[in-house]
Symmetry: D2
């Protein structure tokens, strides 16, 4: 990732010592909040099943958690494309082709899941 892209990130560059910067870095906190909420939704499904809630109401909650997970996946994918894929295209050659193939495979898994 180019240095100006890193500087565009919300975190202070000095706080991150890792050599690798992920596409989702700028929105990590938002993702972690969303996932904590989904974890709570899944725990909620367990407790409504444990409490013998009506099946259809349980199903509604499962659908909601599934959609929330899908939204996380779409968010991660957007960021992956805007950062990692863009960098790979700028690098060109095999790196670009490999990342394009990898992104396509990830999209296909999402569409089919």
């Amino acid at each position: 990732m180019s240095s100006q892209a890193q500087q565009g990130m919300p975190e202070a560059p000095g706080t991150d010592t890792s050599a690798v910067v992920r596409g989702y870095r700028a929105t990590k906190t938002a993702h972690l909040k969303r996932l904590a909420r989904i974890e709570g939704q899944v725990r909620g499904i367990s407790s409504v099943i444990d409490g013998d809630t009506y099946c259809i109401d349980v199903l509604t909650q499962v659908s909601a958690a599934t959609r929330a997970l899908q939204a996380v996946a779409l968010g991660l994918l957007d960021e992956h494309m805007a950062h990692c894929l863009v960098n790979a295209v700028e690098a060109g050659g095999d790196e670009r082709d490999a990342k394009l193939a990898e992104a396509s495979a990830a999209i296909a898994r999402l569409v089919r899941s």
Copy 2:
């Protein structure tokens, strides 16, 4: 639910004291185990994001959790149809029509989520 339907359940009828018996009653423990595993998967996604794992690998884990939730939904739906829907059909009339419409709506939500 009619008493003969309750007697058709795998558990000894005497062990359940609640007035309401859900379609998933016989498999509650299996569902709770599955959901505990999915909760762990979601927590795992948080920790790989927190640890800056490569985006595509995170996406693979999100797809796996989504499919696991879908499997729970399909399991709940099967049981709902085999118990609640069958009972409603045996009851007939409005009860049957209401449960059929409700099941259709739940299936549509699943297909579209």
Copy 3:
């Protein structure tokens, strides 16, 4: 199918000479119209590809056709449940169990496609 169920169908009973009545019989014309429209949508996708329309606009049309096919599937499934499945439940025994398993498998295919 019981004779009163047949009489509940919109068509004059005398016009159908087949021994078998499908769940979608009452809405056959509506399904055929929808499918003719989807066939036109698919033909339209071919012609926009042939005319070098912008990829994303082609994709939008493919998504629309996919959703239209899904709507046909959900319609057929509703009717299958309201007729064939209800009849099988009324028949009871193996017939009921076989039709429930078959409907579950069809729903799983829909959810995963």
Copy 4:
């Protein structure tokens, strides 16, 4: 699209006289064949409904056509990314951002359809 991108296409540049080159250009014939087959599948669904085929068998055919359409969409998207999106990234700036946003929206539509 830049002229060097056009030259990177598999076909001999002289065979195409249109000013616009789409991501799917190299595989147009394959897409048209696939779509002709899907058109046949949809027509087949009409004729099995017209012939009162068993609902579940109709549903199986609808699921197959839906999956075939999804495969066309994934193929178009791959090519869009490998050509149009790569060109936009090379162009940089607003063009890149607009194409990334557009691709993300198309992927979201696919995942949700």
